[in-house]
Amino acid sequence: MSLTPTRRPEGAEPSLTPAESMTHGRASLANRAFARLSTASGVTILALLAAVTVFLVIEALPAVTTSPAELAERISWFPETGGILGYVGPLVFGTLLAALIALLIGTPLAIGIALFISHYAPRRLAQGLGYLVDLLAAIPSVVYGLWGSLVLAPRIVPVQDLLAQYLGWFPLFDGPAAQPARTVFTVGVVLAVMILPIITAVCREVFLQTPRLHEEAALALGATRLEVIRTAVLPFARSGIISAAMLGLGRALGETMAVLMILSPGFAYSFALLQAGQHQTIAANIANQFPEANTAGVSTLIATGLVLFVITLAVNMLARWVVSRRADFSGAN
């Protein structure tokens, strides 16, 4: 079977049986070519993922197999006690904490904006606003870092002071608040702004897809606009909102530059959001230490990178599970 279609002489009657004419010919050639191309793309993705995983594991192996004492000796910033787990632990904690704050601030805000765009704003305003939110996504993270450390960190001080003053009895807001606010709280706020566009965009699309039928069912029962949103829009969008939040979480977990530029790092398991020098994230820590690191140091950093990779993977799988759990109550059937 040749891949180039053979040209028949002019006027010659094609003498193909129906079965042949269904398997040969230009159209099916293009079809098969496309099928192969898309299969190849799919395989490439899998191969890439596998390659990254293998790279991480191989490079991280020395840090895991070497004794903690030796690592501590060879790496200036490695802790004397606790070993590799003792090193990664606070980083994981800091990473999750920063991302969680971002999610807690970002998701409700994004849902609010998306609802406003999809169900409240007049069409012209909605378009402009949607465009504006998308623009937020186009700002490079280093600019967010600059803005966070130079503009927000000094200005957020009064807010932190207020929180410390009135909610200080609650461990999260234990004072005195840092000044300037190079804290995980500030980082969380900046990350929230950074994940806002993706969450808003996904939510907006999902809200707009609410079946007209269900909205009208609610309206005909005498629902106000808010009640339509509660009975028809939000339940329908539930799994979409979760996906959106997970996309945002993925971005927040891996964000490097902005965290690096804002946060004053520390290695504690501390819930004191308003204090500096307590937390650090995996990504920012890698960026921070990598340029000066020796072989053992690089291996250790890659081990932390592997942990971040696993966390992100777990977050994604968790999201999928949550979405599928109530599948028969979703709008899909």
Binding site: E216, A220, L221, E227, A232, R238, A332
Partner: protein, 259 residues
Amino acid sequence: MAKRIDVSDLNIYYGSFLAVADVSMTIEPRTVTALIGPSGCGKSTFLRTLNRMHEVIPGARAEGKVVMDGVDMYASDVDPVAVRRHVGMVFQRPNPFPTMSIAENVLAGVRLNNKRISKGDAQDLVERSLQGANLWNEVKDRLDRPGSGLSGGQQQRLCIARAIAVRPQVLLMDEPCSALDPISTLAIEDLIAELKNDYTIVIVTHNMQQAARVSDRTGFFNIAGTGKPGRLIEIDDTTTIFSSPHEQATEDYISGRFG
């Protein structure tokens, strides 16, 4: 409970397009009124003006009067949300809320209207409404399963149960059987005959036999041509419309000679 509706000189527009012109009719309480007519003549459009559902379509507006037991439903101080709580609606395609269970679906309207009801009252109401919709025996063992898991005919009866659970005065139905098989259709027609004792019912249908079977009065809408507004040609007792209508157009339509 049931109320009388007076419509006078109603014109309905989509933007600048006059879709339905000059409709006047009186709908008596505890009767079934069927609206028939060719596709596009504005039956759905007219039906929606009876509970102000047309207002949720951008650009749609109505001019004229709709009066329910002496209350002008279009008066500026009347809240469309309140109107819809008194005038329920069942749609052409069954539309139970897919994320809610059967029981929650029945209670959906009540939860909007007076937020809190006790658990016992809720159970009673679910049973009463489902029985009212002739659905209770089929679903009583799976009230907590999603409403979307029912058959089309059951879903439509669930929607009727949901609509009557808030005890409206008027029930509007837009081709409620068009997506259903003959058995489910009969079930709903029987139900309409029962509901008539408590509610004022207006039903749009393309099925002439159905109109003849279920309704007391029948209104015939027609349209002169594309781009022209639909008009109410005549409305009379169903027996009169189907045996000796006053208008030639009505006679042509019900005997299958139209166009």
